[in-house]
Symmetry: C2
Subunit: 190 residues, 2 copies
């Protein structure tokens, strides 16, 4: 299975592609960053990111696109652009018939480090470990995109298929409850 | 000049096309709503809206696309979808080389009724008046899209061109100040 992870952002949008391999490991296929110039108008910037996402999907033909779930309560100065780039990534996948999965930052941390409250540095170190790299790719957005892709590979099976929500195992139910709690916490913080 | 107005929304996205005509009036070209089915996944819904926006732009070939400016502080339950649809409208315009203008709800109300705090019903009545219709188009999203397009036609000249910001007339400066105040108010409310 090949997953293309997207850490959405208007200035730097992390993109990472990984393949699953036997023994709970993953292989790095490609990693990079789609960029836009902050002096351009927002429509031109969104178009630039959209075109780069299209190129990545056409080049790597993923089975799934995993995107960070953006909350309305995130950083107010950047949340609109981030949400819009996430939307563009969803449309890029949908128009190719590629399924989309959204993962919260806590889910990503939990999947990669075993701990939903892990620091950014721990996540990056684990990403390098899992992929057999001597160090995490730079910038951080690129490594975060890989973490998202790994999170999707290693998530509890079936958790993201709506149809399966009604036939969850206890472990899956715990995961779903944790996901729900995260969302409510974020709302409460607001 | 032909303006295509977009009142962004994931369930109903209002779209209205108007031409400017002599004597501070405007002619209705077309009005409607792009829809998506709420039982579909978000990626499929965004793709559906995106395709309908593409069709509207190809059919009506506007000179400008005017979109409601979405604030992070808007209705939390819908703001992400609204922002994403606004982003799709921007990309649809940018990939055709059509300039994009963003207008706040207060700007739209002020342009159409002369009063930035006007009620929704006043705006709709004025839209019908301006376009010579016996009543405002339904649903409200469709009429709001027309109001956006009219707002763009009737805005103080040059206010939206970045290059012109440095050579504003006093009236333009007032408008810009009002725009700025609106944004700060929204922030303060938050």
């Amino acid at each position: 299975m090949r997953v293309l992870g997207v850490d959405p952002g208007l200035t730097r949008c992390g993109i990472g592609v990984v393949d699953s391999i036997a023994g709970r490991r993953a292989r790095l296929v490609a990693v990079g960053v789609a960029r836009s110039t902050h002096t351009e108008s927002i429509d031109v910037r969104l178009l630039a990111i959209s075109q780069q996402l299209d190129e990545w999907l056409d080049r790597h033909i993923p089975d799934v696109v995993a995107i960070e779930r953006v909350f309305a309560q995130n950083n107010l100065s950047t949340v609109m652009g981030t949400a819009q780039v996430a939307g563009l990534a969803m449309v890029a996948a949908a128009k190719r018939g590629v399924p989309v999965a959204l993962h919260t930052p806590s889910e990503v941390k939990a999947a990669v480090t075993g701990h939903g409250g892990a620091h950014k540095e721990q996540v990056q170190r684990m990403v390098a470990n899992i992929l057999g790299l001597s160090q995490a790719p730079r910038p951080a957005d690129a490594a975060d995109a890989l973490a998202l892709a790994i999170c999707h590979l290693w998530r509890p099976a079936g958790i993201l298929d709506k149809a399966d929500r009604y036939q969850m195992t206890p472990a899956q139910r715990q995961w779903a409850a944790a996901e729900q709690a995260t969302k409510q916490n974020v709302r409460r913080l607001h």
